[in-house]
Homo-oligomer: 250 residues x 2
DNA sequence: TCAAAAACGATCAAAAACATTCAAATATGT
DNA sequence: ACATATTTGAATGTTTTTGATCGTTTTTGA
């Protein structure tokens, strides 16, 4: 049996059974255990399957990616500083938009008032907002599995019914020329619309995002008040020519 | 049996039975008690289940927990029977609406296909739907704190963009004359609109709702296929004059 | 309340699965 | 045909998983 034949057979097994034992593969291919192991190792490197003790498993978010409670505590602390400053900008009676994402989520705990109205596209924010007794609106649309953000036509339509005093946005890239960028074009659409509906936009970005460019752009640097945790003097001045910048320090 | 196979089996048991004994798992997996204990410990650490003396329990997300104060396991079992039958009505390729509520939530675990599109107004449903890899749309609007249901103008507007093959609704009252009723007028609006956008409506009601009348009406008996857990012969015939009734028995 | 029964966590040795190495078999290129 | 590269399977020692045991804690029922 050829190598590629074995590969096909293995992938077929995994696809149909979700999980397959090495012994079963040995039996079905007639190859030795060593060979199967080598095959599995290679298929794992090529990101086709996930090896587990005793066999291999389908590589999918089915059971694996469900829980994401892990955070690097360093970057979390940075995010908290940024979030805290951003939250201080919220005034009683404001109608604000809070973008989906982990940095913006941190804001919720620091919000200085509960007499505000919050609109968000981040499913994960809702629980904490309600817990604090804040009037919460969620925009509609398709739910993006990995990030639990609302995207798509429904999200855009649904958001057009609102106007915001302030918006707090996350971003994956901040660049003087290319502006604010994010990897997902659908999320970019939502962000772009949110910005256009808002009087005063705040962009929350930790230092790892500065100078980066992701795939989809959703705004120019001057569209938002930029909040970062740390930044060299010279870099700050570049951005300060374009917009207001606040370095919260770490 | 591989570790991951056991994990899948355990999670499956917990999801369908809410609670599972160690002995049952030993029996079903063929593994030793020690191994099952280790598995449960690990699954608890990964936040998939909650260990209890003698077994393990479903770990509900806080969003779900909030709205489900405490349910007698009897009525939960009834709900499951109803949900199971309702789920069997879903066919591959369907676009369905699933109403907010605990009974409809039970359906998700029993859905026979994942090649469907689900629209819901129930925030608590989203997590489980995505976990099963189902394409999920959430309608927009205000989030109702106690039930985590989407209501209000935004919800209505946002739903109008969809049409459904089937809808699965919960209700607080079922009455021959007054039809289906619920205490909250805002939720009633949403339900009413959902029904009007759907070809085939299923109403899920346990026996405690039969003959009851709540404040706000959202449909006549004949608007939906009625699914109940148990019902006296004579009562059944009353409703059967008006619509199709399925008694799933307990 | 108390004692028996059940469930528990910790420990340890056996078993299974593992990566690595090496030589034989096979394929490839000149 | 020859030398070289690749693939294969067996043998090696190592790591992970497993099931049994034991003393402790929790639950149960009188």
């Amino acid at each position: 049996m050829l190598t590629d034949e074995r590969f096909a057979l293995i992938l077929d097994c995994v696809k149909h059974q979700d999980i397959v034992k090495i012994q079963e593969l040995v039996e079905r291919t007639g190859a030795s255990e060593s060979t199967i192991r080598r095959d599995l190792t290679e298929l794992e490197n090529k990101k086709f399957i996930k090896r587990v003790h005793g066999g291999a498993r389908l590589l999918k978010g089915k059971l694996q990616e469900a829980s994401v409670p892990e955070k690097s505590s360093k970057s979390l602390h940075e995010k908290k500083k940024i979030a805290q400053f951003a939250a201080s900008k919220v005034e009683k009676g404001d109608c604000i938009f809070i973008d989906a994402g982990t940095t913006t989520q941190q804001m919720i705990g620091y919000l200085p008032h509960t007499e505000i109205v919050v609109v968000t596209n981040g499913l994960m924010h809702v629980e904490e907002l309600l817990e604090r007794g804040i009037k919460t609106y969620l925009i509609g649309g398709a739910v993006k599995p990995r990030t639990n953000a609302m995207v798509g036509r429904g999200a855009l339509e649904s958001m057009k019914a609102y106007r915001f005093d302030k918006a707090f946005m996350g971003t994956n890239g901040v660049h003087p020329e290319f502006g604010y960028t994010t990897p997902d074009p659908e999320e970019a659409q939502v962000k772009e619309l949110a910005i256009s509906l808002t009087r005063e936009v705040f962009m929350l970005a930790d230092d790892s995002k500065i100078g980066e460019i992701a795939f989809a752009s959703f705004g120019k640097i001057q569209d938002a008040f930029l909040i970062v945790n740390e930044l060299e003097e010279e870099t700050v001045s570049v951005y300060q020519k374009l917009t207001t910048v606040k370095v919260v320090g770490s």
